[in-house]
């Protein structure tokens, strides 16, 4: 079932429930083997987008291709054969064992040699020793892992993970992260919805930020560069006597301000050019320099900047 072209593509995709817009005008293209993060606040339409691409819900606008198949009601079975979705809640049968849960789904996917496939899926999530435990007796973290094993049974070409670490403690989250990273390296296309930004930053090749409409899309570094000016953070042993007189005349420095910790944040066009010039100026001024380093903007800064913009626009 190999195919050429992107693993997922959407063009103007949207979904309304009556008057309520779940998401609108969503367009993107995801390459095969890419780990794609889909970020957004609660109620942004992330889960509805996943359900739409997974043929559980019909779009009200736009078009999409999923694992090489056009998203239409007639293609629902074919698309579901090629993909897997791990929903936010594991949805396991608590009275059945891990192996019995997986057996049922292996049969529903009509896989060849279900026992071997189940064994492989359990090994992938490190759960072979819990195969005969009833799912109802497992911790939340283990249930998430069973759900991930279930999602791997059909060797999906595209794997949708909907908030896979929601409600998990840090250790369980880290285990799930390692599993996702492993899957990413094995070439599975992963569509990860989350509102945990460190998760996206750590795992994803590219991210998109959705807040009903798509606010931005790109590699985390690209988004940072796009949204924020490059900067340097200067720390000195004692506060500078006349920082304006020191930084103002330097051509490499576009702007500056003091941060809450007593450091100086300098806006620069090219840190590689600016850093030596600033160092020389500081030394010449007799300042005791502790550090000069590039300011790091996190994906969280990008996210908050965009979401705050939305909040401002809506409150006007």
């Amino acid at each position: 079932m190999s195919y050429s072209g992107p693993a997922l593509s959407a063009e103007g995709l949207g979904k309304r429930f009556g008057d309520r817009v779940a998401f609108a005008d969503v367009s993107f293209e995801i390459d095969q083997g890419e780990v794609f993060g889909f970020l957004g606040p609660n109620g942004a339409g992330k889960t509805t987008t996943v359900r739409t691409l997974g043929t559980l819900i019909g779009p009200t606008a736009g078009a999409a291709t999923v694992a090489g198949v056009q998203l239409t009601p007639e293609n629902g079975v074919e698309i579901r054969r090629r993909i897997s979705i791990m929903p936010e809640t594991p949805g396991l049968y608590g009275r059945l064992s891990v192996a019995e849960n997986l057996q049922c789904f292996a049969e529903l996917y009509e896989v060849d040699d279900p026992s071997a496939r189940i064994e492989r899926a359990l090994r992938a999530v490190n759960l072979t020793d819990r195969a005969h435990d009833p799912c109802g007796a497992l911790s939340k973290g283990l249930r998430q892992r069973v759900a991930l094993a279930r999602a791997l049974l059909n060797d999906p070409q595209v794997l949708f993970l909907d908030e896979p670490t929601s409600g998990l403690d840090p250790v369980a989250s880290r285990e799930v992260h390692e599993l996702i990273a492993g899957l990413g390296h094995s070439g599975v296309t992963i569509f990860l919805t989350t509102h945990r930004l460190e998760e996206a930053e750590r795992l994803c090749d590219r991210v998109a930020i959705l807040n009903t409409t798509l606010r931005t899309i790109g590699r985390p570094q690209e988004l940072r560069d796009r949204l924020f000016a490059k900067g340097l953070t200067v720390r000195t042993l004692a506060p500078l006597r006349e920082p304006a007189a020191l930084f103002g005349p330097l051509p490499a420095v576009e702007s500056w301000h003091q941060d809450d910790d007593g450091g100086y944040l300098l806006g620069v066009s090219d840190p590689a050019v600016a850093a030596p010039a600033i160092t020389r100026a500081l030394v010449a001024a007799g300042a005791d320099v502790l550090s000069i380093c590039e300011s790091h903007r996190s994906l969280e800064d990008v996210y908050l900047e965009l979401i705050d913009e939305d909040v401002e626009v809506r409150s006007r």
Binding site: F17, R51, L56, I57, R80, R81, I85, G91, C104
Partner: protein, 240 residues
């Protein structure tokens, strides 16, 4: 449209496993038949051999057709709304399973045990009457025509009750509501079989044939109708 036997069998197997491990389901399957076997037994044992001819005017055996009407109503009402409340419906619908396959699997999983329970209870009743009934009572009560009707109508009535209960379960938003409505919906079948059993409705071959054909058609249409009612989007997104 080609249906996958393997997917249907997977649903049946899963349902039967869940039934086996759920005490409340086992108790439900056991209690209702017991209730419906007590009244005919009391009636039979209260009949002295001299009054056995009275039984010839009744169809006491058909009273037990209430079992295939009531047992599946309680079990099947959980089928869809229960999965939805438990959060297991979405993972099922994510697989390539068609709604027709899912519903047929759910129906067959209830139909098998229901028929088995109904036949076993019927067999026990016949055996008890034959062994312990007053002289003349077994021959007056156990008539071949009634036995044939019981055997043929048990699966037909059970199937109809199942499709009604699945339809209710598909539309209901709460398991308890679905159970109450399903039991209510099975009462007409119970009423008709009781009225035939006590002789208010006169049992004839034509009536049996007409009811049989009606149930066959209803069951065939029931599957189609319930499949049409089953909308993934409404069930997943929770819209009305």
């Amino acid at each position: 449209m080609t249906l996958s036997r393997r997917r249907i069998a997977a649903i049946v197997r899963k349902e039967l496993l869940v039934y086996r491990r759920s005490l409340s389901i086992v108790v439900t399957m056991a209690v209702i038949p017991i209730i419906f076997i007590v009244q005919p037994l009391v009636s039979v044992f209260a009949t002295p051999s001299g009054s056995a001819t009275v039984l010839r005017h009744h169809h006491e055996l058909l009273y037990m057709l209430a079992i295939p009407a009531l047992v599946p109503a309680l079990l099947t009402s959980y089928a869809i709304v229960g999965e939805r409340q438990q959060g297991t419906l979405e993972p099922l619908l994510i697989t390539p399973i068609r709604r027709e396959e899912l519903l047929l699997g759910k129906a067959l999983a209830v139909l098998g045990p229901t028929i088995a329970v109904a036949y076993v209870v019927f067999g026990i009743f016949i055996a008890v009457v034959a062994l312990f009934g007053a002289p003349g009572v077994p021959s007056a009560l156990i008539r071949p025509a009634d036995v044939v009707v019981q055997v043929i109508f048990t699966p037909l009535i059970a199937s109809a009750a199942i499709w009604i209960a699945i339809a209710i379960s598909t539309r209901a938003s709460d398991v308890r509501v679905a159970q109450q409505l399903s039991v209510l919906a099975s009462l007409p079948a119970v009423a008709v079989s009781t009225l035939i059993a006590v002789g208010v409705i006169h049992a004839t071959l034509n009536l049996a044939f007409a009811l049989g054909v009606a149930l066959l058609v209803a069951n065939r249409l029931g599957w189609r109708l319930v499949s049409a009612l089953f909308q993934r989007e409404r069930l997943i997104a929770g819209i009305r």
